[in-house]
């Protein structure tokens, strides 16, 4: 036996698990802040309607245009609606749409990217050129175009997000495949006759996972922006559902009387986006190869 056994003081490491990742995220101030923000917004989305002091479309005619106060934390708008309650309610829609949309886009993009990148050849080449041309159109323009065709509906919004982000995620997934598929361990898998499914999902996917997680988080923040922007333009989530973008648009006309009605939802958007970005940056540092 060699003396290598004597240096065997290392404890066997586990792969990274959600809990480990979370603990590590809280190890750095910036990513801890980002993660906390995202968690708080998630909590808002989950229990917001329970803690909201007023109804989402509840108008209190006697209390229109009130500045922030202990009764109305974020003030009221020109119709006498409680801005804090509306912001709380709005979180659910935006997080659900952006989250689900991003998740589906990551799922579809990963599958397409992995398969196309691994197989290569003419199909891969053709698909990537199609994706390239889609990427050349600005996301907002593409969304406007699609919504113009299918009409403004929540499902349509979801489809738009999936459609806009799938090519981007696919390209990212594919680039990882291209760098990994010529590596020794993939060749070794081919040499022992592993199936294509095994190679793609067990040998290659884990290496792509950190990149895809970070990409997913970034896409999520862009999706939040996109939904808010579409809401602002009036073709996103339709009233009476509360929507931060729509709230900003409505408050714009009364910005001198009720600036808080504009600032609060706008602040919610930016804080959430900053939080997601900080978390994505943290994830990039935290997701390491097991044992490292």
């Amino acid at each position: 036996m060699t003396k290598e056994s004597t240096t065997a003081g290392v404890t066997p490491a586990r792969g990274w698990r959600p809990f480990t990742v979370l603990t590590r995220l809280f190890g750095r101030p910036a990513s801890a802040a980002g993660t906390s923000i995202v968690l708080i917004f998630l909590l808002m989305a989950l229990i917001g309607p329970l803690i909201a002091p007023y109804g989402v479309n509840e108008q209190i005619p006697s209390e229109t245009r009130q500045a922030p106060s202990p009764d109305h934390w974020f003030g009221t708008d020109h119709l006498g609606r409680d801005v804090f309650s509306r912001v709380l309610f709005g979180a659910r829609d935006i997080l659900l749409l952006a989250g689900l949309g991003t998740f589906l886009a990551v799922l579809a993009g990963t599958a397409i990217g992995l398969l196309s990148g691994y197989r290569g050849g003419t199909f891969d080449e053709a698909l990537m050129r199609v994706f390239d041309s889609l990427l050349a159109i600005p996301a907002l323009l593409l969304a406007l175009l699609l919504l113009g065709v299918v009409g403004p509906a929540r499902n349509a919004l979801l489809i738009v997000i999936v459609f806009v982000y799938t090519p981007i995620v696919a390209r990212v997934a594919r680039s990882v495949v291209l760098s990994v598929k010529s590596k020794g361990f993939v060749q070794a898998a081919r040499m022992r006759g592993e199936s294509e499914t095994w190679i793609i999902f067990r040998e290659i996917l884990p290496s792509a996972f950190p990149t895809l997680t970070v990409e997913g988080a970034l896409r999520f923040s862009y999706a939040i922006f996109l939904i808010a922007a579409l809401g602002f333009l009036g073709i996103g989530v339709q009233p009476p559902n509360p929507n931060w973008g729509l709230m900003v648009a409505e408050a714009r006309e009364h910005v001198f009387q009720t600036p808080w009605a504009l600032w609060m939802p706008a602040l919610a958007i930016s804080v959430l986006v900053i939080g997601v970005n900080l978390m994505a940056d943290g994830l990039r540092r935290v997701l390491r190869v097991p044992g490292a």
Binding site: T6, T7, Q187, M191, G193, S207, V289, A292
Partner: protein, 682 residues
């Protein structure tokens, strides 16, 4: 006389981890004017940190915590960057390992050289630049001066770096592995140049290298570093002839020397692994791997003791070593079992050809111009018998990796016939059945990429067992680990927790898991430290005799190939030049290319003699391989148009050596002498 460099008690720490990590610990050395001082060490020894510290060019996280560095009497520690700037270039100059990243890619070579002569007029500076290029023996200086760095070859780039470093006539030149990235024939030419310049200019030089061979050729004195510690220091002859530190002994013993073969010599590998800097042994850093370790070595750190006027060693037992009372060398590997050679053929390759089509531009596609293709492997025939090792040597671009990949079926464009144990192999791996796959496995070059970082060692090893042998048992995984001398608990580790040598062991275990009849090894030791190399070579030897496996061993290092193989093939531009039984490989007649290769290897013996055969230019592009004999553009024995026009014949001499050359073997034998002569080791 004021020493050109004097380093005293230098300690450098890195502060990027949880606590400070010592990379260089109280190292002292002195270089007199005109002296070449070799600094040898493996990865993690601190040699690069030391070199950078001398330049005062350490990365930000590194701090010099104590010591002094004086260049030509001037203290460098404590100097501000503004004060250092005039010293760089004029007092100290450095030639880095990778010339391409040191040259500015956006400026022409001439411009980069003439920039150093700000005081001169533009045309004078340009003349000066040309002069410098001539000094480093560049044949066409005007053309090179007009080129951008990427347009010239690696050897040429390194010469430009040398010219640049010497342009201001520095007091101290630091060469940091200047030829490590070069092919051996190019390396030889650059080393010649460095040697000539050293001799002519008498510049004090700190030559940093992991290669003992290069140091043996160059240095007057040398310092051996191990895990941040200076372990031995002395004149070259002293250290090579009578090493006193067990690590120096181990280093010298662990490399196969040119001309040695496994039949005669068993390598003495240094067991264990190089300690990581975070986790250094507290007393003697070498104690965990030392064959003559005693209690005190693990308790207190040995002092650097003088063992003669100009010699120092950091070991408690050096006097016993010098008196011959103890043997500080590692035990040799047990000689492999004798196996009768079996006449059965394991692998037969006929007319193998690998082409890679180059992509066409849209214009070319529209014009329907034919696709250009790189012919990586051309018309190769090989036979490997059962239980035999066939070694393939080649420089970069010789097609050695393509050949291996074509045999295992990873190249779609391979043509020709490959037979494994009498059955023809389908070209592509997807058409091969389990049975065939299990008979043929491969170990790849880069151990860091060989294992899936997300699977434990046990998981990686159990897959081939399950798939190719239908075995689902942890017992078998443990047996595999034991076969490559790794403890069973390694099954639960991830690759990131393994050293490079350990990863390569696991990769070898994985290849042998399927009980293959033939294993292809593509540069399995080239990225490993020398002390680890030997243990892998010994391991391969043992596994081969235990299992009766045939090996195809590929490497750029002719000493290693010659050591491990029964037959050696020499590849050049995708074609075989010579096929020789290893016992005759080192004796004439040689193919002219083999002759140049053997002449290019820096020998590990300061007293060895070596013919000087040097090749002109670089390896031609395989997009347009030379006609006739592919070697004719660089051949020192070029005999005329026949070499350009006709494909050479395969000639066989009476020892069974086969040479692909127009010159009759009898003439070659008459004209060629023994390329090198070196004493045998016992």
């Amino acid at each position: 006389m004021i020493p050109a460099l004097s380093v005293e008690d230098l300690t450098v720490k890195y502060r990027n981890g949880p606590g400070p990590v010592t990379a260089v610990r109280e190292v002292s050395l002195e270089i007199q004017p005109g002296e070449v001082h070799g600094l040898v060490g493996e990865s993690g020894s601190g040699k690069t940190t030391l070199a950078l510290a001398v330049m005062r060019h350490l990365p930000e996280q590194a701090v010099i915590t104590s010591g002094s560095i004086r260049v030509d009497g001037q203290e460098l520690i404590g100097l501000s960057p503004e004060r250092l700037r005039p010293i760089w270039g004029s007092q100290i100059a450095m030639v880095p390992q990778d010339p391409l990243s040191a040259l500015n890619p956006t400026l022409r070579i001439g411009k980069q050289l003439s920039e150093r002569f700000e005081a001169l007029s533009r045309s004078d500076a340009r003349d000066k630049a040309i002069e410098l290029l001539e000094m480093v023996q560049i044949a066409d200086p005007a053309r090179v001066a007009r080129s951008y760095p990427h347009q010239i070859s690696g050897g040429m780039q390194q010469r430009v770096m040398i010219a640049m470093a010497l342009s201001a006539e520095p007091k101290l030149l630091i060469l940091d592995e200047p030829t490590t990235g070069l092919d051996s024939t190019t390396e030889a030419v650059v080393l010649d140049l460095i040697r000539e310049l050293m001799r002519a200019r008498q510049t004090a030089t700190l030559y940093v290298s992991h290669s003992l061979g290069v140091i043996a050729q160059f240095a007057d004195r040398l310092t051996v570093l191990y895990a941040s510690e200076l372990v031995e220091h002395g004149s070259k002859m002293d250290l090579f002839e009578n090493p006193l530190h067990p690590y120096t002994c181990g280093l010298l013993d662990s490399v196969p020397r040119l001309g040695e073969n496994k039949r005669e010599i068993q390598l003495r590998s240094i067991e264990g692994r190089i300690p990581s800097l975070e986790d250094l042994p507290s007393a003697c850093v070498f104690a965990p791997r030392c064959p003559v370790v005693i209690d005190i070595c693990q308790e207190t750190r040995p002092a650097l003791e003088g063992a003669g006027a100009t010699r120092q060693v950091r070991c408690y037992r050096w006097e016993e070593t010098r008196a011959g009372e103890i043997d500080p060398r590692q035990p040799p590997a047990p000689p492999p079992l004798e196996r009768p050679t079996i006449a059965e053929t394991a692998l037969q390759i006929e007319n193998l050809e690998v082409r890679y089509d180059q992509p066409r531009s849209l214009a070319e596609w529209l014009r329907r111009s034919p696709r250009q293709s790189v012919r990586a492997v051309d018309n190769v025939r090989l036979t490997i018998r059962k239980g035999e090792t066939l070694g393939l040597v080649g420089e970069s671009g010789s097609g050695k990796t393509s050949l291996a990949q074509a045999v295992v079926g990873l190249v779609d464009s391979a043509r020709g016939r490959v037979e494994l144990f009498g059955a023809e192999l389908p070209t592509q791996i997807k058409h091969r059945d389990r049975e065939t796959l299990s008979r043929l496995q491969m170990v790849m070059q880069n151990p860091d990429e060989a294992l899936n970082p997300y699977l434990t060692v046990g998981q990686s090893l159990s897959r081939p067992l399950a798939l190719l042998r239908g075995i689902h048992s942890e017992e078998e995984v443990r047996r595999l680990l034991e076969g490559v001398r790794l403890p069973p608990e390694y099954a639960d580790r991830y690759p990131a927790q393994l050293s490079a040598g350990e990863k390569q062991r696991v990769a070898i275990a994985r290849a042998f898991a399927a009980m293959p009849g033939l294993v292809l090894l593509d540069e399995p030791v080239s990225s490993l430290d020398v002390s680890v190399q030997a243990s892998i070579l010994n391991l391969l030897n043992r596994l081969q005799t235990e299992h009766g496996t045939s090996l195809l061993f590929i490497s750029h290092d002719i000493s290693v190939v010659g050591y491990l193989s029964e037959t050696v093939g020499v590849l050049y531009l995708g074609q075989l030049m010579e096929l020789a039984p290893s016992e005759n490989l080192f004796d004439p007649p040689y193919h002219p290319y083999t002759e140049a290769l053997l002449s290019a290897i820096p020998l590990l013996d300061p007293k060895a003699t070596q013919e000087r055969v040097r090749l002109r230019g670089g390896i031609p592009s395989s997009l347009e391989p030379p006609s006739g004999c592919p070697f004719h553009t660089r051949c020192p024995r070029f005999i005329g148009d026949i070499c350009i026009e006709q494909t050479p014949p395969w000639q066989e001499d009476k020892t069974g050596k086969r040479i692909f050359c127009h010159i009759p073997v009898s003439d070659l034998r008459r004209e060629q002498g023994q390329v090198f002569a070196m004493r045998k080791r016992e």
